[in-house]
C-alpha cells in the first residue's frame, strides 16, 4: 500500500456514492432506541420506492443528540430527523427529493449543533464505522502516510508537544511530555496501550468515538507507536462495550488486510500490530497500572508508581498509555499542525473536549466544544436548560472521581484549572446536570457506593474507607447522623485522599467533599435531633460477604 493506493480506494468510494445518502445512527444510544429496525425499514422503503440507484442507506456513528434518537440525517439536503420510528421511514424516503416528511425534524440551527467544534468527532455521523473505505474517503490514514514518510519520530513528538494536548483520560498530563519520555527510554521492546476502559457513571464519550470512528483510534495509535518506537499496541476495551469491541475488531482486520497495520506499513521499515483485550468489568482497571496487570493476565489491581509505565510498563517494558480521545486527537494534530490545535482553547487547556451531557437537561448527548467554553453555555444553550420548570442546582463533572459545580458557579470556564479550583475535575468528560430536586447527600452516597463496589480491595483506606463512608452517608440520608459522624466523615475523606494507593481511592471522596463544600446544610439537615447518640451495640452489618 502506498499513497496512490490509498487515493484510489478513496476515489472508488466517492465514485460509488449515490446522489442521496440517508445516514442512520448506529451507535449504542440509538441502537438501544431501535435504530437497527429503522435502518432495515429504510432499506426496504428505498427498495419499495425503486430508489436503490439514487439513495444509499448508511449506518453511521453517533449523530450527537442522544436524547432524541434514533437520529436520521439526509444528505446532501442536510436535514435531520429525530425520534424516528419504522413508521416514519416511507415519508423520509419520499421527502428526499423535497417535500415534507411526517417524521419529527431536528433543529440543526440549535446551539447544541452550532456551538460544537468537532475535531475528535469530525467523522462521527459521517463515516460508516464498519467500512475502512468510508474512513479513507475522508482522508483517513493519509496522515499516517505523511508521518511515516516525511517526519522523524522526534518531529512527531515535537508536534504533539507543540499542540499542548493534555491526556483526555482525566489527569490532564501533557501528552507530548509522556511521548517524549517513552521515546527516550532505551529498550528492546516497547508498546502502546489505548485505555478504553471508560467506566464513570454518566460517561460515554470514548464509547461513542470507538463505535463511530474506530479507524481514527488505530491511526492515532500507529502514529504514537512510530513516535515512541513501539511495534505492538493493545486496546483495552471494557467488556460492557460489545459494539465498540466488534467495530474495533472489524477495523483492525480491515487495516491489517490493506497493510495499514502489520509489517512494513506503507512500505516503510515500521511494523505495528494492534491486539484487543477485553476488561471484565472492573472500574479500577482504567487505572493504568491495574490495566497493565489485567492485560498481563493478572488480577487487575494497581501498584505504586514510580516506576511509571513510561519506564516499566507491560512486562516491565516502556509503555505509552493514552486514552481513546487522546489518540483520536492525534491524526488532526499531525495533519494540521500543533500550532493550529494550540490556538484553540485556553492558555493552559488547549484544543477541544468531548463531553457526554446527561441528567436533568433537555438535550442530552455527545458534544465537542473548545476548552474554556462556559458551563452555562453547555447547560443552558447547548443542553437547552433544565426541563419541567425546575431550576439548576449543580453540574457533576468528572465522573465518580469528580465533584459538583454549584449553579452559582455556572459561568466557570470548563478547563482543567478552573474546574480544579472549584474542587471538581475535568475527568474523562462526564457531565451530569442536576436540578433542584436532587438530594446532594444521596448523590454523594450513590457515587460512594459505586467507588466501594469498584474498589479493588488492595489498600486499607480505599477498601474499608469507602465502605465506612458509604455507611456514614446512609446515616445522613436516613437522618440518623450525629455531629461526630460529620467529623468522622471529613476525617475519612482526608484519609482516603492522602493515603490511598491509586487514583480511585484518592479521588473517591471528591463527590462528598464538593457537596460538603457547597451544600453543607443538606448534611446538617441529615443529622438526628440534638441529644441523639450512636448506640454502642448495633445490629450486625452485612457489608462483607462470606468467602
Amino acid at each position: 500500500m502506498d499513497l496512490s493506493g490509498l487515493h484510489s480506494i478513496a476515489e472508488r468510494e466517492r465514485h460509488s456514492r449515490k446522489p442521496n445518502t440517508i445516514r442512520c445512527c448506529a451507535a449504542m444510544g440509538c441502537e438501544a432506541a431501535r435504530s437497527r429496525q429503522v435502518r432495515v425499514a429504510l432499506r426496504s422503503a428505498v427498495a419499495a420506492a425503486g430508489r436503490q440507484d439514487s439513495i444509499e442507506v448508511q449506518g453511521v456513528g453517533c449523530l450527537g443528540l442522544c436524547s432524541a434518537g434514533p437520529l436520521v440525517r439526509v444528505e446532501p439536503q442536510g436535514v435531520m430527523y429525530q425520534r424516528v420510528t419504522p413508521e416514519d421511514v416511507q415519508s423520509i424516503v419520499a421527502a428526499v427529493d423535497g417535500g415534507t416528511s411526517t417524521a419529527e425534524r431536528a433543529d440543526l440551527s440549535h446551539p447544541f449543533f452550532t456551538l460544537q467544534y468537532p475535531i475528535v468527532l469530525e467523522n462521527s455521523g459521517k463515516v460508516d464505522p464498519e467500512r475502512i473505505e468510508s474512513y479513507v474517503a475522508e482522508g483517513g490514514y493519509e496522515t499516517l502516510y505523511h508521518v511515516l514518510r516525511e517526519m522523524s519520530p522526534a518531529e512527531v513528538v515535537d508536534e504533539v508537544s507543540r499542540s499542548g494536548l493534555r491526556g483526555r483520560g482525566g489527569a490532564g498530563f501533557p501528552t507530548g511530555l509522556k511521548w517524549a519520555t517513552v521515546a527516550k527510554t532505551q529498550a528492546d521492546w516497547k508498546c502502546v496501550v489505548c485505555n478504553a476502559d471508560e467506566g464513570d457513571p454518566g460517561a460515554f464519550m470514548d464509547r461513542a468515538v470507538m463505535e463511530s470512528d474506530p479507524h481514527r483510534i488505530l491511526e492515532g495509535m500507529a502514529i504514537a507507536a512510530y513516535a515512541v518506537g513501539a511495534n505492538q499496541g493493545y486496546i483495552y476495551v471494557r467488556g460492557e462495550y460489545p459494539l465498540a469491541y466488534d467495530r474495533l475488531q472489524v477495523a483492525i482486520q480491515q487495516a491489517d488486510r490493506l497493510g495499514l497495520l502489520g509489517s512494513r506499513i506503507f512500505d516503510s521499515p515500521f511494523d505495528f500490530r494492534i491486539d484487543l483485550r477485553i476488561g471484565a468489568g472492573a472500574f479500577v482497571c482504567g487505572e493504568e497500572t491495574a490495566l497493565m496487570a489485567s492485560i498481563q493476565g493478572q488480577r487487575g489491581t494497581p501498584r505504586p508508581r514510580p516506576p511509571y509505565p513510561a519506564e516499566a510498563g507491560l512486562w516491565g517494558k516502556p509503555t505509552l498509555i493514552n486514552n481513546v480521545e487522546t489518540f483520536a486527537n492525534i491524526p488532526p494534530i499531525l495533519k494540521r499542525g500543533g500550532g493550529w490545535y494550540a490556538a484553540i482553547g485556553t492558555d493552559k487547556s488547549k484544543g477541544t473536549k468531548v463531553f457526554s451531557l446527561t441528567g436533568h437537561v433537555r438535550h442530552t448527548g455527545l458534544i465537542e466544544v473548545p476548552m474554556g467554553t462556559t458551563l452555562r453555555t453547555i447547560v443552558e444553550d447547548m443542553g437547552d436548560g433544565v426541563p419541567n420548570g425546575r431550576a439548576l442546582k449543580a453540574v457533576q463533572t468528572g465522573g465518580s472521581s469528580g465533584g459538583c459545580v454549584p449553579a452559582s458557579e455556572i459561568d466557570v470556564s470548563v478547563d482543567y484549572e478552573s474546574l480544579a479550583a472549584l474542587g471538581s475535575i475535568m475527568g474523562s468528560g462526564g457531565m451530569v446536570v442536576l436540578d433542584d430536586s436532587t438530594d446532594m447527600v444521596d448523590l454523594a452516597r450513590f457515587f460512594m457506593e459505586f467507588c466501594a463496589d469498584e474498589s479493588c480491595g488492595k489498600c486499607v483506606p480505599c477498601r474499608v474507607g469507602t465502605a465506612q463512608i458509604y455507611r456514614l452517608l446512609e446515616r445522613f440520608v436516613a437522618r440518623e447522623a450525629t455531629e461526630s459522624d460529620l467529623v468522622l466523615l471529613e476525617e475519612l475523606c482526608d484519609l482516603l485522599r492522602s493515603a490511598s494507593l491509586c487514583g480511585l481511592g484518592q479521588n473517591a471522596p471528591n463527590p462528598v467533599l464538593s457537596t460538603l463544600r457547597y451544600f453543607r446544610e443538606e448534611y446538617e439537615a441529615g443529622m438526628a435531633s440534638i441529644g441523639a447518640s450512636r448506640g454502642l451495640i448495633r445490629e450486625p452489618a452485612v457489608v462483607g460477604r462470606p468467602a
Binding site: R303, P304, G457, C459, P546
Partner: protein, 238 residues
C-alpha cells in the same frame, strides 16, 4: 549500587540507591510501622501504615515501595501520619471480627501490636461484622478469614518463596478475601505443599496450626482423681 545520603527524622542516613525508605530507616534504627511488609518477599504497599512524608511533596509515600534518593528529607512520625495510621488501624479492626481475647494469636499478633503502638483504645467507625466461615479442612493448618487483614503475605510467600501459588485474593472491595486454588477448601488443594510458610507469614490469627486454638484444648478429667490419689498414696506413675 550507588551510595546516597538522606535525612530521616532529622538524622542523616546513608543507603544504597536501590534501597527503600523502609530499609534505610530500619538500618538506621528508625522504626516505621508495617503490616503487609514481610522481609524476603516483594512489597506491595497495601496496608499503607508505613506512609511517610517527603519534603517538597504534599503527597504521602509508602516507605516500603519508595526508593531513596540523594538529599531526600523524610519524616516518619508527624501528627498527620499518626492520625492517619490510627484511623487505618481502626478501619482494619472494624473490617472483620478482631476479638483479641478469643483469638489464637492473642499476644502474638502484629495488628494488636500496631493498635497498641498507635494508641487505639476504641474504634470510632462501625464494626462491619462479616460472617466468614472457618476452613479447617487442611490436615495441619486452619484458616479463619474473620481475623484476616488482607495483607497478602500468605499469597506472596506461597508464590514467591514456596512457588506453589496456592493462595490468592478473590472478590473486590470490602468483599475481598483470600482463597486457596480456585476458592476450593484448603484441604482439597492440589497445589498446597503443606509447607506452613503462609502460617508463619500471617501477622494475625487468620492462619494457624491445628491444635493451637483454645477451643481445641482437651482436658483429661480422669487425671484429676489420679493426682489426688497419687498425693495420698505417693504413687506418681500411673
Amino acid at each position: 549500587m550507588i551510595a546516597v545520603t538522606l535525612t530521616i527524622d532529622d538524622r542523616l542516613v546513608s543507603a544504597g540507591d536501590d534501597d527503600t525508605i523502609l530499609h534505610a530507616a530500619h538500618d538506621a534504627g528508625i522504626a516505621i510501622p508495617t503490616l503487609c511488609h514481610f522481609e524476603g518477599i516483594a512489597d506491595i504497599g497495601a496496608c499503607r501504615l508505613c506512609l511517610v512524608e517527603i519534603e517538597g511533596s504534599p503527597k504521602l509515600f509508602a516507605a516500603c515501595t519508595t526508593r531513596v534518593t540523594e538529599g531526600m528529607v523524610v519524616r516518619t512520625d508527624t501528627e498527620r501520619l499518626r492520625r492517619h495510621r490510627k484511623l487505618m488501624i481502626e478501619l482494619m479492626l472494624s473490617e472483620r471480627n478482631h476479638v483479641c481475647s478469643v483469638c489464637v494469636a492473642n499476644g502474638h499478633c502484629e495488628l494488636q501490636d500496631r493498635a497498641i503502638q498507635a494508641g487505639v483504645d476504641h474504634v470510632r467507625v462501625e464494626y462491619l461484622y462479616p460472617k466468614f466461615t472457618m476452613d479447617l479442612s487442611h490436615k495441619r493448618y486452619g484458616a479463619d478469614p474473620n481475623r484476616c487483614i488482607l495483607c497478602a503475605r500468605c499469597v506472596r510467600v506461597c508464590d514467591e518463596v514456596e512457588g506453589a501459588h496456592t493462595w490468592d485474593i478473590g472478590g473486590r472491595g470490602i468483599a475481598s478475601h483470600v482463597v486457596t486454588d480456585l476458592s476450593a477448601p484448603w484441604g482439597d488443594s492440589a497445589t498446597c505443599t503443606a509447607c506452613g510458610k503462609c502460617v508463619t507469614a500471617c501477622p494475625t490469627g487468620a492462619l494457624f496450626s491445628q491444635g493451637a486454638t483454645v477451643g481445641e484444648l482437651e482436658k483429661d478429667r480422669s487425671r484429676l482423681a489420679f493426682v489426688v490419689t497419687a498425693r495420698k498414696t505417693r504413687e506418681w506413675v500411673r
